[in-house]
């Protein structure tokens, strides 16, 4: 079963894998973070980032430096790297890349629709869109008034089209419906991606499936957590859970019934993977949030993905790690610019 991957992988994807591993070596290290945390101003941060792989990516920015400028430039850098990978990829890796961008595209579509709902101009929101999930038809999203409209008119030719099967409805798009749409899209997206990786087999399946399973379960937990105290019915809630995770099916059914955090925690305790995570969550003040715990676990999985060779997971893992790193830098930068130094150490260390 493995021979195929090991023998032929490098013919098509060896260059890119080497490249991505090189890029991974450029991630900020513990030492860099220690130095970054010590920075007094954003200028200091910039100087320190210049000594890392980021180079002088901020050189052309006029003063004063703001966090959002740093963020955009970092995103641009990641995006150009990703574009390079994508442009040099062959099938089926390019499909894999397409799947990777889909999640950003969903986010962008939802963002634009929310913007349209609040009567903001498209240009204003376009700036906030993630560059990885950019596509031409995106700006026309706000023509649509119902999900089926959206599908028929705008998204039918994008990679997002297949995910729409479950969410064709004639509902007017209000805030709740958009949120539901997002979760449904995400659900079918994750399931499709999971299926793709599973069908691909080899090491890719071995690496990517656990990562995606975790992603699905995380969504299920987060959806449950966010639905406490809203008008979302339990049946409806259950339809939003991605079914490709470890929680499927019993866990999801239990989650659908959960009414507060304690009950959710009890569900998680049935699973060896999630039990320690929920135990690590601090209560109220001082402790880590559930989100952070999930992020840490994700980072760990992504770092471990680099221990195997001949699979596509490295690309996914690298992008995710880079994203986490960007979140960290933004967090540190925000703390610095708002003079809120007590929480500056709450970034997620990348091992």
């Amino acid at each position: 079963m493995l021979e195929g991957a090991e023998l032929y992988f490098n013919v098509d994807h060896g260059y890119l894998e080497g490249l991505v591993r090189g890029c991974k070596a450029g991630l900020l290290t513990e030492r860099d973070y220690v130095n970054l945390v010590q920075c007094e101003t954003l200028e200091d941060l910039k100087i320190h980032l210049q000594t890392t792989d980021y180079g002088n990516f901020l050189a052309n920015q006029t003063n004063p430096l703001t966090v959002s400028k740093i963020d955009t430039e970092m995103r641009k850098k990641l995006c150009s790297e990703f574009e390079y990978f994508r442009n040099h990829s062959l099938e089926p890796l390019s499909t894999f890349f397409t799947y990777m961008t889909c999640s950003y595209m969903i986010d962008n579509v939802i963002l634009l629709m929310n913007g349209a709902l609040q009567k903001k101009s498209v240009k204003e929101i376009l700036v906030k869109c993630h560059p990885l999930g950019r596509f031409t038809e995106m700006e026309a999203v706000n023509i649509a008034e119902t999900p089926s409209d959206l599908f028929n008119a705008v998204l039918i030719e994008t990679p997002l089209a297949p995910f729409f099967q479950d969410c064709m409805s004639e509902n007017i798009l209000d805030e709740l419906n958009i949120e539901l749409l997002r979760n449904k899209l995400y659900k079918s997206y994750l399931e499709a991606f999971y299926k793709f990786c599973k069908n691909h087999g080899d090491v890719t399946a071995e690496i990517m499936c656990p990562i995606l399973e975790f992603e699905a379960d995380r969504r299920a937990f987060i959806i449950t957590l966010n639905s406490f105290g809203t008008e979302l019915s339990k049946e409806e809630r259950e339809t939003l859970f991605p079914t490709c995770g470890k929680l499927h099916p019993e866990g999801l059914r239990l989650l659908a019934q959960a009414e507060d955090f304690e009950q959710m925690k009890r569900v998680a305790e049935h699973y060896g993977v999630y039990k320690p995570l929920f135990e690590a969550v601090g209560d109220g003040s001082g402790g880590k949030t559930l989100e952070d715990v999930f992020y840490e676990h994700e980072v760990q999985m992504n770092v471990l993905a680099f221990n195997r060779q001949f699979h596509y997971g490295v690309f996914y893992a690298y992008t995710k790690l880079k994203e986490q790193e960007m979140r960290n830098i933004v967090w540190i930068a925000e703390c610095i610019s708002q003079r809120h130094r007590t929480k500056i150490n709450n970034y997620i260390p990348i091992l």
Binding site: I47, H48, A59, N60, V122, T136, A140, I143, A153
Partner: protein, 849 residues
């Protein structure tokens, strides 16, 4: 020459720079490029250093300058590149310069912004005119629609570019027209159809001339389109879609009259804009021209200034905070110049207390500095490619100057090719001051930098070509061949002698395809050719056999001499570092090992050459067999080259076998013995203390040099050697590895030197083939047409000779020569110690570029 043989003596100096004058002093030092600074603040992160603010300011200046240069190159104004490199600006001028530059930047940005705006405006107007022109044809096609338009109220065109006017249309039929870039047309049409469910009619036509995109400035192909639609809702959607595809939408005139009016209005506006734009551009050009005059020197000045602050960041502060302390490595010979530079710097800044320097004794190993001139530079670069030698080590570059071109020439031996190469190099050398050469492209610069190497390689190739008697694969008969064909006929000999010899007569000559000259017949071989190989061999069919035997032996001899030389250079190193025991325990066993095996081989080769003549050649034993027998001890008697050969060989083998354990164990055991019993006899004790000191110096150096620089392993190894705990295993391991490498290397490297023969053979054969395939064919054609044919043939021959034989073959021979030198240099540098360490060469770091 002395400085090339060993690197210069260096000393560690401490500079006390008064804080007011530090900048000027460093500037003066930097101009001279005398010293290498040591970083005294390694533990301080880059943004916590003292002069970080100044560095930031320099960066800001650099950013402005980069912007200026970008604008200047975009405007196609030539950047004057002065040769002079201006010194770093005095501190007083820096502020002024910064202000000037900032003002310039603001002004420039303003003007360019205006210009861009105007340009964009202009482009939009041009697009509009194109659109109007093209859409007119659409309308003509659809004449039946014409009456419908007139029902609508006319558009009030208060603003030309206001496309929202469409919304004001109360009527049902509306038009949107504009331009869309070529790539998007298809998707646009599809989406339009899907969204509006066919309630629209889209007509489009390609514009014949590509236009610039006002947003990105790209020149692309455009399509003009016209959408007619029913209803306001649809119109809203159409507009959205147009936005989404970044169409440029312009109001669509409803009547022909209106169209004409707009067209006229546009034309006048375009005219106006052109004039305004020209004026703006002229002004911009003036500003840029003025800036261009000084921008080049400014760039250098800022670079120098930044470098100075970087150096200042490496200095530590005195406790009283009144002066900066810098530690520098400086060649001893330059100390005086260093003092002068300091004085000069102090004088310039008008300080009351002069900056001064202090030589501090140190145990650290200084960096290696080897001064080169334009001739030796190339060779030094070749040697440095293997690794920079440690401080005061013998520098193999000196010998490389001769051996490198020689080994190359052995492989490249051809009089003609060598001469062409020599001429080319000579051309480069004679024109070396020509500015175009030193600023040429990458490949040309490579040749230019190696011009002296090429020159010597060419010269040596001429020499070896003469020895091989090869000129474009043909031999030159300068002195007359030593062989005489007529002596092979019987007439010249006395009848009594004739019986013993195989002589030629008419029938032999007629019926044999191959005739053999027999040198044992008197008169046939009249003594050797004075220089190189006899030209008659060029005609012989057994030429290859003869040359192969000759070249093979020659390459073995050259190789072994070269390797022995490397070991001997190692002895010089040991002498200099006073590690005498290394000579006895490492170098001499190494020499014995090599010479007893391969030295004997050489001896046999030479002996056979001298002893056996044409008459006795049939009984001569094969050297190969003899050499193999040396190790196999055959039971059957063989007649050796000389009496008693067997015993001599046994003795040599015994010596070889004995030298191996010495090589393996000698040094570690000696060091162990030194370690355990210090109180032995005095002579070695003094040697020992010196040894200890030396190695301690090395260790402290290794410890303090940035860890990233070098090999961690070696560092650890060395440190443990001299740490109080004496690690015997480590030393033994190193020595065993070194010995195994050496012993195996002796054999494999000797084989490796056979490449001299192989490449020389390949070169000769290639040039032979080229001659046979081209020139011989060209020369064979009869005289009337031959002349016409010969011209292209010669041209082709010349081109192929240059590209295949000179460039390709030359490159391969060059690479092989490099490979062979690696063996030599590895031997000379005493193996592992310090060979691949990378010291920082004291350099004009402070200087820009």
């Amino acid at each position: 020459m002395g400085s090339l043989f060993r690197s210069e003596t260096m000393c560690l100096a401490q500079l006390f720079l008064q804080s007011g004058t530090a900048y000027e002093c460093l500037s003066a030092l930097g101009e001279k490029g005398l010293v290498q600074f040591r970083d005294l603040n390694q533990n301080v992160s880059s943004f916590q250093r003292k002069f970080v603010g100044e560095v930031k300011r320099c960066e800001e200046l650099e950013r402005i300058l980069a912007y200026l240069v970008q604008e200047i190159t975009r405007a196609d104004i030539p950047l004057p590149e002065g040769d002079a490199s201006p010194p770093a600006p005095p501190l007083k001028q820096v502020l002024e310069m910064q202000e000037q530059l900032q003002k310039l930047e603001v002004e420039l940005r303003e003007v360019t912004k205006n210009k861009e705006k105007l340009r964009k405006n202009l482009l939009e107007l041009i697009e509009y005119t194109h659109m109007l022109r093209v859409t007119r044809t659409f309308v003509k096609r659809n004449v039946e629609f014409e009456p419908t338009y007139e029902e609508f109220p006319a558009l009030e065109n208060d603003s030309l570019l206001d496309y929202s006017s469409m919304q004001r249309l109360g009527a049902k039929l509306g038009f949107v027209s504009g331009l869309i870039s070529q790539g998007k047309v298809e998707a646009f049409e599809k989406m339009l159809w899907r969204v509006c469910k066919g309630y629209t009619i889209l007509t489009y036509a390609e514009l014949d001339e590509p236009l610039e995109d006002p947003e990105t400035g790209e020149v692309i192909k455009w399509y003009v389109f016209l959408i007619s639609f029913w209803g306001e809702q649809i119109g809203y959607k159409v507009k959205k879609i147009c936005d989404c595809y970044h169409c440029h939408i312009y109001p669509y005139p409803n009547t022909a009259e209106e169209r004409r009016e707009i067209q006229e209005g546009l034309n006048t506006r375009i005219q106006d804009l052109y004039t305004v734009l020209h004026k703006t551009e002229d002004y911009l050009r003036q500003v840029l021209c003025k800036a261009a005059e000084s921008v080049y020197s400014r760039v250098i000045q800022v670079k120098k200034m930044k470098a100075i602050y970087h150096m200042l960041n490496m200095c530590s502060f005195d406790v009283t905070n009144k002066c900066l302390i810098a530690e520098v490595w400086c060649p001893e010979a330059d100390l005086h110049a260093l003092r002068c530079a300091l004085e000069e710097g102090s004088r310039e800044s008008g300080a009351t207390i002069p900056s001064f320097m202090n030589i501090i004794p140190t145990k650290e190993t200084p960096p290696t500095l080897i001064r080169t001139n334009k001739f030796t530079e190339g060779f030094q670069n070749i040697v440095d490619a293997y690794g920079v030698g440690s401080y005061r080590e013998v520098n193999p570059a000196l010998f490389t100057i001769v051996t490198f071109p020689f080994l190359f020439a052995v492989m490249f031996g051809d009089f003609g090719h060598g001469f062409v190469m020599f001429l080319f190099a000579l051309l480069l050398v004679l024109n070396e001051n020509h500015p175009r050469l030193s600023q040429s492209q990458e490949i040309m610069r490579m040749f230019f930098n190696g011009r002296y190497i090429l020159l010597l390689m060419g010269l040596f190739s001429v020499y070896t070509g003469l020895i091989y008697n090869d000129c474009f694969s043909k031999s030159v008969n300068l002195f007359g061949s030593g062989w005489n064909v007529s002596a092979m006929y019987g007439a010249a000999h006395a009848p009594s002698e004739r019986k013993k010899m195989v002589l030629w007569n008419d029938s032999v000559v007629r019926h044999n395809r191959v005739l053999q000259l027999d040198p044992s017949i008197p008169g046939v071989f009249r003594g050797p050719y004075p220089l190189g190989i006899d030209p008659i061999w060029n005609l012989a069919t057994n030429r290859l056999t003869f040359l192969n035997s000759f070249k093979m032996k020659m390459s073995v001899i050259l190789g072994i001499i070269h390797m022995t030389f490397g070991v001997i250079l190692g002895i010089f190193n040991h002498l200099h570092f006073r590690k005498k025991f290394n000579i006895y325990l490492v170098s001499i066993p190494e020499l014995l090992f090599m010479l007893c095996i391969f030295g004997h081989l050489i001896f046999m080769i030479v002996y056979k050459w001298l002893l056996y003549s044409a008459e006795t050649s049939r009984v001569a034993p094969s050297i190969l067999i003899e050499f193999i027998n040396m190790f196999l001890f055959p039971t059957s008697e063989t007649n050796g080259l000389y009496p008693g050969q067997e015993h001599v060989q046994r003795l040599l083998l015994v010596v070889t076998a004995l030298s191996v354990p010495v090589l393996f164990l000698g040094k570690p055991l000696f060091l162990l013995w030194l370690h355990n019993g210090r109180s032995c006899f005095g002579v070695s004790r003094s040697g020992y203390t010196l040894v200890r000191k030396d190695s301690e110096e090395e260790v402290s150096l290794l410890g303090s040099q940035d860890i990233e620089e070098g090999n961690h392993q070696m560092e650890d190894g060395c440190r443990e050697v001299t740490c109080e705990e004496f690690n015997f295993g480590e030393i033994l391991m190193t020595q065993v590895i070194h010995s195994i490498e050496y012993c195996l290397g002796c054999i494999s490297n000797t084989a490796s030197y056979l490449r001299l023969w192989a490449l020389s053979l390949a070169h000769a054969q290639l040039s032979d083939v080229l001659w046979a395939m081209l020139m011989r064919v060209g020369l064979r054609v009869d005289t009337t047409y031959g002349v016409l044919l010969l011209l292209p043939v010669i041209a082709l021959f010349a081109v192929l000779t240059i590209f295949i034989l000179l460039i390709m073959e030359g490159l391969s021979a060059f690479l092989h020569a490099i490979r062979l030198h690696w063996i030599d240099i590895k031997n000379s540098c005493g193996g592992t110690q310090g060979m691949f360490r990378r010291p920082k060469v004291p350099n004009d770091k402070n200087k820009s570029n």
